[in-house]
Amino acid sequence: MIRRLFIANRGEIALRVLRTAKRLGITTILGVSEADAASLPARLADEVQLVGPAPSPLSYLNVDAVVAAAIAAKADAVHPGYGFLSENAGFSRALSAAGITLVGPDVSSLEAMGDKLMARQVGQQAGLPVVPGGEAATPQDALARARETGFPVLLKAVSGGGGKGMKRVDREEDLSAMIAMAMAEAQASFGDPRIYVERFVASGRHVEVQVLGDGHDAIHLGTRDCSIQRRFQKLVEEAPAPLLPDATRAGLEASAVALTRHLRYRGAGTVEFLVDADTGDFFFLEMNARIQVEHPVTEAITGVDLIEQQLLIAGGARLSLTQGAIQPHGHAIEVRINAEDADADFRPSPGTARRAAWPAGPGVRVDTHIATGGVVPPYYDSLMGKLIVHGATRADAVARLQAALGALQIEGLATTAPLHARIAADPRFVAGGVDTRFFDAFAATQEAR
């Protein structure tokens, strides 16, 4: 049982954890930076501990400072939220050395999912399909790999990230020239010439499965679709993933549970997949060993409080839910309201919300730490709040989203709410099941307008 919970995060997720902890009768201690000392979560926490100055490397990302604050607070557990130290194996070890429980998986799970190549290996060991391909040290290797996977292929730098150094090759005759270029670029950009050859999925959807495990048993809580992304940042998420063939959905869920069992995973996690929208084939990408921003859509359709499940499991309990007890109903959509100006290349817009009128009512949930007069500091990410709608069908949820966005009024800061209103009205979004190319195509039509 957890009695004193230290929350090592800020913003809406700090408030989200506080709410469930309070309901469970757990004393909450919020670790705050100097910039967040008067924030809404700080006012609602039972106790507050300063973790450092405003910049996150000196506060929320400072392992020593956060652990020292948790010790000073006499906490028996720490909830890390998402981002910051939530998947940091060193943080997990430092807490356990101090006799404090991390509300999260064992350090072995954090390490197994720590980098993408390692995650791919572990996924294969657990029997999950991965995108066909593999590492290539020489041009001959690369050609052999490409013949195995079939064209088109994607060449990626092993040490790369963020799309840098990625090349698409459509025909075998172009391969050798492209490999030489990709290896040279990989060497120049990352100091490592090794490349990776992977099948290119033209129409891909980002679908993930929420799982819960207690180290022995594992269950899933269905799918979420997060295909609407800008530069790999999610904008809109929904549950369940719309218009997915039954066989694909069942396969995704079974694979996610298999991996959770393989890892003897403890806590809440998310298994991410790339789904080929043309064929229905799916491939394991990675597992996020923490609560996710978009967890409320799963809560909406299952009625399960995922933070409560995290706290119970971290407190040593076995899973109280069975797979049969999870009976999702309806459809839920979340949009992220960020302090960014979507009409000015998503320029950040920190400052004070002169007015914050959030939607409310049946089927509407808002997770936010920003009330009228609330401050969005320039030091952290731009998430101001999340609007989550739930309806009996996807069409109901979309209609509710459109109405709720019409009721939302934030003054004093630019937000992504007007962008979401345009997305919610887009016929492709209304039809459902868009792939990850949606946002670029949507943005292009907006510009042409």
């Binding site: 008067a38 609602l44 320029r347 920190p350 808002v366 009330a371 009228t372 109405a403 019409g406």
Partner: protein, 156 residues
């Protein structure tokens, strides 16, 4: 530290109660907070919105970061290069690297003279005017406010 305040769950409950009544709006003010819940229109199923604030409104604003450098007037004959956003000003592209510009450098409108980091994004600061850098006002790695002059340039 904990105050008896309105929680999001309280607000949801208030809206749920109102939703079953003919009332379309409620205003509540206590010593701790002010809340307004309002239906947008008369129609059945019309959306609601809720707006609330701390009664001491200013306390939340106290969290706003104080500018580290003092805003200065721009002397006669010089042009100030304002910070495009509030954030942390950096004179160089990486720690230990040479600064983008130093006093005496000639710049064009497009020359990058610094970076302002806001919400983990690096925003280049362009000179905006062709001329010679006369003074660099903002210290490296310090918070600046939007509009605060970072450099003075003598336009040419």
């Amino acid at each position: 530290m904990s105050e008896t305040l309105l929680t999001p769950d309280d607000v949801a409950e208030i809206v749920a109660i109102l939703d079953g009544t003919p009332y379309g709006r409620i205003d509540i003010a206590t010593r701790a907070f002010r809340l307004r819940v309002e239906r947008d229109g008369e129609a059945e199923g019309a959306p609601w919105h809720q707006e609330w604030a701390f009664a001491d409104g200013g306390a939340a604003a106290a969290a706003a970061p104080a500018p580290a450098a003092v805003v200065q007037d721009v002397p006669e004959g010089l042009t100030g290069v304002p910070a495009p956003l509030p954030g942390t000003f950096y004179r160089a592209p990486a720690p230990g690297a040479a600064p983008f510009v130093t006093e005496g450098d000639t710049v064009t409108e497009e020359t990058v003279v610094g970076i302002v980091e806001t919400m983990k994004l690096m925003n280049p600061v362009h000179a905006g005017v062709a001329g010679v850098v006369v003074a660099i006002l903002a210290p490296n790695a310090m918070m600046v406010e939007a509009g605060q002059p970072l450099l003075h340039i003598r336009a040419e």
